[in-house]
């Protein structure tokens, strides 16, 4: 449970202090991507394809360039050639080459002295298209005779005879599934579909960039990972990474969608063409929805064998996922390992294909692949529990993964908390509340691997005994507060004496983005190691002053103390005293740690949801919602709860309402928030949370990433609750009112 009501050995970890960036964020002072400006700055606009699939015959920018105040136009012809693999995909997505591959694909960009003028100029750029046949649905893209949208995308893994849109195939498993199914009392097989959804961060992509004719430049950008931005922009533009200095702004949400580039090379290229003047580019909401990373859409077959006592004897899945017009973006490599990660099943077979279609290049979205896989597998588990009249938590406890279980995808779990989340869900009062008419309850568990990744952190002791920490993982949900707590705990100084800054690419070694639920885990781990280095140095300074061995000094409560009777009697030397004298005792005191962090510890959660379905309209109301998840150790419980609640809300949106709707013309039909409707305040109840704490042995304070698992269980849990309320099972998300109403009517 959270530290609030449990006594621990920690002074600060588990408390809920104000976040350091809170004041800026409640006063409007925090600077996000679009809030930054430079003297002499130009504004850019992008010309986008109105066609899902079209050959670009000609681009004529002469009328635009003739306008006073228009300074530069870039097209694909301005970018270097010869790129391959993912670098070519990134370049192809930045600006279309021979073909536009989806509605909204960028074709040209223009820079002018004002945003309005740039938009006017964009409308004057004439693009001649030859429209080609398109396909947007994952199953349709695989069907015989479907238009092959790009030749040669299939890699070595794709079996012969598959449609040319199939880019990748993977399979793995263990045990004898045929024997497993034969041993079952019931074997059930179903197909489930999920539509693409968008991360839906409220801040559109925005950046200001400047690049001179020497190919050196600077960028201020909202991103989850500025080293990724630097590497990708450098690749696409053919410049050197070290020549580009990238500073992250505050970030208005990312959820995976800001781990890559979409338009960031454009202002750099425009700036270079415009004599090095800085260029600002801010996407509109419809550009965000049409042309930045939605998640994959999926079509999934699942087969399970179960005994009447609930023992699962075998499982089999075949997933088909499309991640847009570029190979490599569909998360089959994550979805398959996540499918049965919550279970210990003797025989499993996993297969999946990645398919390309005329849709935008998908990006990561919170636990990429896991929500779809959970929707398929957890829905079928629930269907079989209902058929056999078994308690869904009891079945999960019986079959669930435990410490030392060999995971469905290979590795052996070390210390995990799935069973604890199930027990806590079972014991929670929500699970015992009687249900009324038209009400139903759904249960599902979820998994995310978590991640460590490349991490570089520095810490400097100030002359007044405060500490400054430099991290490279942008803070999206309170990680500066969590890292500050860990450093203050380690140094034994007040939380307020630690300032954590997210610094630019020139200030640290390479950091992976804030992704994979890694920021508090990995930057926190490296920050603690940095603090320990600084402590060791401070002990040496005290020892030198006292004329004793450094080993005879120990650090506690923010000061060096002589350790043991042989160290002599010396009053404690505080960090403030050491800091104030460090210039004359050997120079600045700092710590630095860099690592590709391992030991991240898998994450599990269990959700319980109650819904009421209006039998007249098919509208589903979420009555109450419970998230139980293992945090390892909750450093700042309020922001752990925030991750649980936010993940659940996104999952609820995916389950009930959100979807990419493509017309027969291949154009996105709902590219504004009015029509792509994410949950609003009046759609949701309070979201109850239980923080289970099974400390992760791979972190100095037991942290596990908490960001992603929470989006996974809502999809199946809500569909199962609707089944409980109506008797109708929705196997294709979203569970929108017309779909639920039709299912109720079909049931009769």
């Amino acid at each position: 449970m959270a530290r609030d009501d449990v006594k621990t050995g920690y002074k600060l970890i588990g408390t809920r202090p104000n976040r350091p960036d809170g004041l800026d964020k409640v006063t409007g002072r925090a600077r996000y991507g679009a809030d930054f400006s430079l003297p002499g700055m130009l504004h850019a606009a992008v010309v986008r394809s109105p066609h899902a699939h079209a050959r670009i015959v000609k681009i004529d920018a002469s009328k635009a360039l003739a306008l006073d105040g228009v300074k530069a136009v870039v097209t694909r012809a301005d970018l270097p050639t010869g790129l391959t693999g993912e670098e070519l995909n990134l370049q192809d997505n930045t600006l279309a080459g021979e073909k536009a591959l989806y509605d909204g694909h960028a074709v040209a960009a223009v820079a002018a002295t004002s945003a309005l003028l740039a938009q006017d100029a964009a409308r004057l750029i004439e693009v001649e298209y030859e429209v080609l046949p398109h396909v947007t649905d994952v199953d349709a893209a695989m069907a015989p005779g479907a238009p092959v949208i790009r030749e040669g995308v299939a890699d070595y893994s794709v079996p012969e005879g598959m449609n040319g849109n199939v880019a990748r195939y993977m399979e793995f498993g263990h045990g004898d599934v045929d024997a497993g199914f034969a041993a079952a009392d019931i074997v059930r097989e179903q197909t489930y579909k999920t539509e693409a959804t968008h991360q839906g961060y409220i801040e559109p992509h925005a950046c200001v960039a400047q690049m001179g004719e020497d190919g050196r430049g600077e960028m201020w950008v909202c991103t989850q990972g500025h080293w990724y931005i630097r590497r990708m922009c450098a690749s696409v533009l053919g410049i050197e990474a070290a020549g580009l200095r990238v500073t992250p702004s505050e970030i208005g949400g990312g959820f995976g969608g800001k781990t890559t580039i979409f338009m960031e090379p454009l202002p750099l290229a425009l700036s270079k063409k415009a004599g090095g003047r800085p260029v600002k580019l801010v996407m509109s909401r419809s550009e965000v929805l049409r042309a930045t990373g939605p998640t994959a859409s999926a079509s999934m077959d699942v087969k399970l064998g179960m005994k009447t006592d609930g023992t699962i004897t075998a499982g089999q899945v075949f997933f088909r996922m499309q991640g847009g017009a570029f190979p490599g973006m569909s998360p089959i490599g994550e979805a398959l390992p996540c499918a049965f990660a919550c279970y210990d099943i003797p025989a499993l077979k996993h297969e999946a294909v990645e398919v390309i279609a005329n849709r935008p290049k998908a990006a990561a979205y919170r636990a990429p692949g896991s929500p779809m896989a959970a929707f398929a597998v957890e829905s079928l588990v629930d269907e079989m529990c209902r058929e056999l009249k078994l308690d869904p938590i009891a079945v999960r406890l019986k079959n669930g993964a435990k410490n030392g279980s060999k995971s469905s995808y290979g590795p052996v779990y070390n210390v995990i908390g799935l069973q604890e989340t199930l027990e806590a869900a079972k014991a929670h009062p929500n699970y015992a509340i009687p249900l009324g008419p038209n009400q139903g309850r759904g249960v599902a568990s979820g998994f995310w691997f978590n991640h460590g990744g490349e991490t570089s952190v520095s810490l400097a002791v100030g002359e007044d005994g405060t500490a400054t920490v430099m991290i490279g993982t942008p803070d999206i949900g309170g990680s500066r507060a969590s890292i500050g707590l860990m450093v203050a705990e380690c140094l034994g100084i007040p939380y307020e004496d630690v300032r954590v800054n997210v610094v630019e690419t020139g200030a640290l070694g390479v950091n992976e983005p804030t992704h994979g639920s890694r920021a508090t885990f990995a930057s926190g781990k490296a920050a603690v190691e940095s603090a320990r280095q600084a402590i060791a140095e401070m002990c040496r300074r005290a020892a030198a002053d006292w004329g004793i061995d450094a080993e005879a000094v120990e650090w506690k409560d923010g000061a060096a103390h002589p350790a043991g009777p042989n160290a002599g009697k010396h009053p404690p030397m505080t960090i403030g005293e050491i800091g104030s004298k460090m210039g004359s005792t050997g120079g600045p005191i700092s710590g630095h740690h860099e690592v590709t962090a391992g030991g991240y510890g898998a994450s599990f959660g269990t959700h319980v949801v109650d819904v009421e379905v209006d039998p007249e309209t098919g509208r589903t109301t979420v009555l109450r919602y419970l998230v139980v998840q293992d945090a390892g150790t909750a450093i700042h419980p309020a922001y752990v709860e925030g991750q649980y609640q936010g993940g659940a809300a996104q999952g609820i949106g995916w389950a009930l309402n959100e979807e990419y709707v493509y017309g027969t013309d291949g154009r996105l039909q709902n590219p504004i928030f009015l029509d792509y409707r994410i949950p609003v305040a009046s759609d949701l109840p309070m979201i109850d949370t239980v923080i289970v704490e099974v400390p992760n042995p791979g972190h100095p304070y037991g942290v596990r990433g908490v960001g992603e698992t929470g989006i996974t269980p809502p999809l199946p849990a809500i569909a199962s609750a609707i089944a409980g309320a109506t008797g109708a099972r929705i196997r294709s998300l979203p569970c929108s009112p017309p779909k639920v109403l039709a299912a109720i009517k079909a049931k009769g």
């Binding site: 006063t27 945003a115 309005l116 409220i202 208005g252 925030g642 936010g646 009015l674 759609d683």
Partner: protein, 158 residues
């Protein structure tokens, strides 16, 4: 296109600027007056990140032309705190009612407008009042709690 001379009051200060007839109040606040605390999330009045009050009425500043602000009294997030934070601002920090913080200015402006009309709202009233302010990070739970706590404090009940 000739520009329009606009004279208005923003957070109590008299201001004037030249607006393109196509520019919104949001554009003017952000680009002419350097008040970037008001955010653009959608430009179509669906997300509420650009919420301000005009003559006391809560509006999406992306749906109002800059020229329409002439002679009006505009209040933005930058005007919410005096020497001390407004109770809503303080309670949002204390309750961890923000994660990325991008929607926060608009939600604070909208919540302040609610409490001026209804100092003792129910949870449901808060949820419907804020239904035009999208937050993608929090699931709204802590936002509702922070507004309730601020309302209680402002009523003197805390």
């Amino acid at each position: 296109m000739s520009k329009i001379h606009v004279t208005t009051t923003v957070n109590g200060d008299p201001v004037e600027f030249l607006a393109d007839p196509r520019e919104t109040l949001l554009d003017a606040l952000r680009n002419h007056l350097d008040l970037t605390g008001t955010k653009e999330g959608c430009g179509t009045g669906d997300c509420g990140a650009c919420s301000v009050t005009v003559d006391g009425t809560l509006v999406c500043s992306c749906l109002m032309l800059a020229a329409e602000a002439n002679g009006k009294r505009v209040e933005t997030i930058e005007g919410m705190a005096g020497e001390e934070l407004h109770p809503l601002q303080r309670k949002f920090i204390e309750h961890a009612a923000l994660q990325c913080g991008f929607c926060t200015p608009g939600i604070l402006v909208a919540a302040k407008a609610l409490l001026e009309r209804n100092p003792d709202p129910t949870d449901t009233e808060i949820r419907y009042w804020l239904a035009g302010n999208l937050c993608r990070c929090t699931g709204y739970d802590k936002i509702i709690r922070a507004v309730q706590d601020a309302a209680a404090e402002m009523r003197g009940a805390a």
